[in-house]
C-alpha cells in the first residue's frame, strides 16, 4: 500500500516534470528542434494507432502509412479549399477510419501472413493512386499548404505555435487512446489477442473487435496525417510509402508493444534515429535500425519501455545469486519435492534376471 502511494506520487511528479518540460522546451530550443519534437508528437499518434491494432489487439498491420498519408491529403485538400478547420480535422480522421473499416471488414477474417499481405498492399496501391488523382493530391510533386502561422497576439514564432497546437491535440488523442486500451474495450482486445476461443466463450466477437481495432488505428493514422500537414506543411505520395509503414512497426516494437509510454519512445526513436545517424552518414540509418531492432528483440522483447523493469529483474537475480552463495547452506526445497498424492508403499520387486541373448536383428 505504501508502495502504491509512493508510486502514484512519483508518477504524479514525473508527469508534472514532463508537462513542464514539454511546455518550456519550445521556448528555449531551436526551430529545428521544435520541428523534430513536433514530428515526434505526430508519429506518436500514428504509432499509437498501430499499437492499438498490433500491440493490443494482436493483428499485424503493415499499412499504417497509407492512413497517415490519406489523412494528410484530406487535411491538405480541405485547408486549400478553405473548409472550416474543425471539419477538416474531423474528415481527416473519419475518411481514413472509414477506409480502414472497409478493409478490415474483409481482411480480419484472414490471419497472420495473409493479413500482413493485405495491409502491406494498402501503401503499395496507395502511392500510385495518389499520383493518379493529381487534382486532389498534386501528383508526384505533392501538395504544399501554408497555414497554421502563429497569430500576432500570441507573441510566438510559428514553429512554437504549431508545436503547441500539435502537442495539445496529440495529448487529447493519447488520453483517448489510453482510456480505450485500459478500459473494457482494451481488455477485450487483449482477450482477442491471446485466445480467440476464450473470447468466443465469453461472448466477445473477435471479428467485431478486430474491425474496431483497425478502424481506431486508421483513425489515429488519419489524425496523425492532419498533424503532419500542420507541421510539415507538405505531403506527397512518399508519405504513404511502405517503408514508412515498416519503420513505424520497427519503432513501435523498439519502443514497446502494447504500451502507451512505449509508443512515445518508439515515436522519438522513429524521428531522432534518422536525424542523428543522418549527421554521421545517412546510408547507415537502415543498418543501425536493423541492428537495434534485432538487439531489442533478443534482449528486451517488450521494448525500451521494459528496460527499467528488466534491469531491476537482473539486479534482483544477481543479488539472489550472491545471497545464495553467501549462505551456502541447505538449498531451499523446490516445488518438485511436493507430495502430489498418496503413494502405495508396496513392495517393489526388483526384476533383473538376464534374458538369453539373441543378437540377431532384422535385416
Amino acid at each position: 500500500m505504501k508502495n502504491f502511494i509512493a508510486n502514484t506520487k512519483v508518477r504524479g511528479l514525473a508527469l508534472a516534470a514532463i508537462a513542464v518540460f514539454l511546455i518550456v522546451a519550445p521556448l528555449v530550443s531551436s526551430p529545428f528542434m521544435n520541428y523534430q519534437l513536433s514530428l515526434v508528437a505526430v508519429y506518436a499518434v500514428a504509432i499509437l494507432g498501430l499499437n492499438i491494432v498490433m500491440g493490443y489487439a494482436g493483428q499485424v498491420s503493415l499499412g499504417q502509412s497509407a492512413f497517415l498519408g490519406l489523412g494528410a491529403y484530406v487535411a491538405a485538400y480541405g485547408i486549400l479549399n478553405d473548409w472550416p478547420i474543425v471539419l477538416v480535422f474531423v474528415l481527416s480522421c473519419l475518411i481514413p477510419a472509414l477506409v480502414g473499416m472497409l478493409v478490415a471488414l474483409f481482411a480480419v477474417r484472414l490471419r497472420g501472413i495473409a493479413l500482413a499481405m493485405v495491409t502491406i498492399s494498402l501503401p503499395i496501391i496507395g502511392v500510385p493512386l495518389a499520383k493518379r488523382f493529381s487534382e486532389f493530391t498534386g501528383g508526384s510533386q505533392g501538395t504544399t499548404v501554408s497555414w497554421l502561422d502563429a497569430p500576432d497576439w500570441s507573441g510566438l514564432a510559428s514553429d512554437q505555435w504549431r508545436y503547441y497546437i500539435v502537442f495539445a491535440i496529440a495529448v487529447v488523442l493519447f488520453i483517448f487512446g489510453r482510456n480505450l486500451t485500459k478500459g473494457r474495450i482494451g481488455r477485450a482486445f487483449g482477450i482477442v489477442r491471446t485466445n480467440e476461443a476464450v473470447a468466443m466463450s465469453m461472448g466477445i466477437s473477435s471479428y467485431r473487435y478486430k474491425v474496431l481495432a483497425f478502424t481506431v488505428a486508421s483513425m489515429f493514422g488519419g489524425a496523425a496525417g492532419f498533424l503532419y500537414i500542420g507541421i510539415v506543411q507538405y505531403t506527397s505520395p512518399e508519405t504513404m510509402s511502405f517503408h514508412n509503414s515498416i519503420n513505424m512497426v520497427v519503432a513501435m516494437v523498439i519502443g514497446g508493444s502494447a504500451s502507451i509510454i512505449g509508443t512515445v519512445l518508439g515515436a522519438a526513436y522513429f524521428v531522432f534515429l534518422p536525424a542523428i545517424s543522418g549527421q554521421i552518414d545517412p546510408t547507415q540509418t537502415a543498418l543501425i535500425s536493423g541492428v537495434v531492432l534485432l538487439v531489442i528483440l533478443f534482449l528486451l522483447p517488450h521494448g525500451l519501455v521494459s528496460l527499467p523493469r528488466r534491469l531491476i529483474q537482473l539486479i534482483a537475480r544477481a543479488r539472489q545469486k550472491l545471497n545464495r552463495a553467501e549462505n551456502a547452506g541447505p538449498e531451499d526445497a523446490g516445488p518438485a519435492q511436493n507430495e502430489t498424492g498418496p503413494v502405495s508403499a508396496h513392495t517393489t520387486t526388483d526384476v533383473s534376471e538376464s534374458h538369453p541373448e539373441s543378437p540377431s536383428k532384422n535385416t
Binding site: 518438485a336 502405495s344 520387486t349 538376464s354 534374458h355
Partner: protein
C-alpha cells in the same frame, strides 16, 4: 550392464513436475511394460528417454549417458520412439515415411529389403504405399508409425499407446505383430499401454506408475496375479 538404465529420473513441463525419481532398467532383448492411469507419467517417461523433455537424474543407454542429449542424436544411437497418436508424417507418402525411418541406413538395397519386411509385417500398408499418410485410417497410421520405427533398425523401441483409438480387433492385430517383431527381430522394447491385457501379451515385466512414481514392479506373471493390478488395469 543393462541396455537401458534409468536412475532417479525426474521430469517436468514448465513448473509442473510429472516424474519423481523413476528408476528401472531394461536388458538386451527384453520387453518392459509401463502401466498406469492417465497422467501417471507413462508417456513422459518415454519422452524423457528419447530426449523430448528436460530431465533430472541419469539415463544410460548401452552404458552411455544420454541425459540431456538432443532427440535426433538419441535416435541415431538406436532408440526408436513411436509416439502416441500422430506418429506419422502426414504430407509424406507411406513409402516416404518408411524411407525417413531408414534415414541412417546407407545401403539402398537394405532399405528396400526393410521396406518389404515392414510390408510383410503390416500387409494393410502395402496397398497404401503411395498414399499420403494423412489419408490412412487410425489403425493404418499406427502401423505405419511402428513400421517407421522398425526401419531405423533400432536396438530399443519405445512404443506409446499403440492401441489408442483403435478398434479392438485392430489393436489385437497390432499387438500380434509387435509380438512377432519381438521374436523375429530381437529388438528390445519399452511398451506404454493403458490396456494392460494387451501389453501383457508381449512384455516380460512391467512397472506401474502412479502420479509420477513407481508403485509396483515385477515380472509379468507376478503382476498379473496381483489383485490391485487385476482390478485397476485388467478390468477385473
Amino acid at each position: 550392464m543393462s541396455l537401458l538404465e534409468l536412475d532417479n529420473v525426474g521430469a517436468s513441463y514448465g513448473a509442473a513436475p510429472v516424474l519423481h525419481g523413476v528408476s528401472f532398467s531394461v536388458e538386451e532383448n527384453d520387453a518392459a511394460g509401463i502401466l498406469g492411469a492417465n497422467g501417471a507419467g507413462k508417456s513422459t517417461t518415454l519422452r524423457a528417454i528419447s530426449g523430448m523433455v528436460t530431465t533430472t537424474g541419469s539415463i544410460r543407454f548401452d552404458g552411455r549417458d544420454i541425459t540431456g542429449m538432443r532427440p535426433d542424436k538419441i535416435a541415431r544411437l538406436g532408440i526408436a520412439h513411436v509416439p502416441e497418436g500422430r506418429g506419422t508424417l502426414g504430407d509424406l507418402s507411406v513409402r516416404d515415411n518408411l524411407r525417413v525411418g531408414a534415414f541412417q541406413q546407407r545401403d539402398r538395397k537394405t532399405v528396400a529389403d526393410d521396406i518389404e519386411y515392414c510390408l510383410d509385417l503390416f500387409p494393410n500398408l502395402r496397398a497404401r504405399i503411395g498414399s499420403n499418410a494423412s489419408t490412412l485410417s487410425g489403425g493404418e497410421q499406427q502401423m505405419l508409425a511402428i513400421a517407421r520405427g522398425i526401419m531405423a533398425k533400432p536396438r530399443l523401441i519405445l512404443l506409446d499407446e499403440a492401441s489408442l483409438g483403435l478398434a479392438p480387433s485392430t489393436a489385437q492385430n497390432v499387438y500380434a505383430t509387435i509380438g512377432r517383431l519381438r521374436s523375429e527381430a530381437g529388438v528390445s522394447m519399452v511398451i506404454v499401454e493403458q490396456n494392460a491385457a494387451l501389453a501383457f501379451r508381449v512384455v516380460d515385466h512391467a512397472i506401474v506408475l502412479e502420479t509420477g512414481r513407481i508403485s509396483l514392479q515385477g515380472p509379468r506373471e507376478k503382476l498379473m496375479g496381483m489383485d490391485e493390478v487385476r482390478r485397476a488395469y485388467l478390468g477385473g
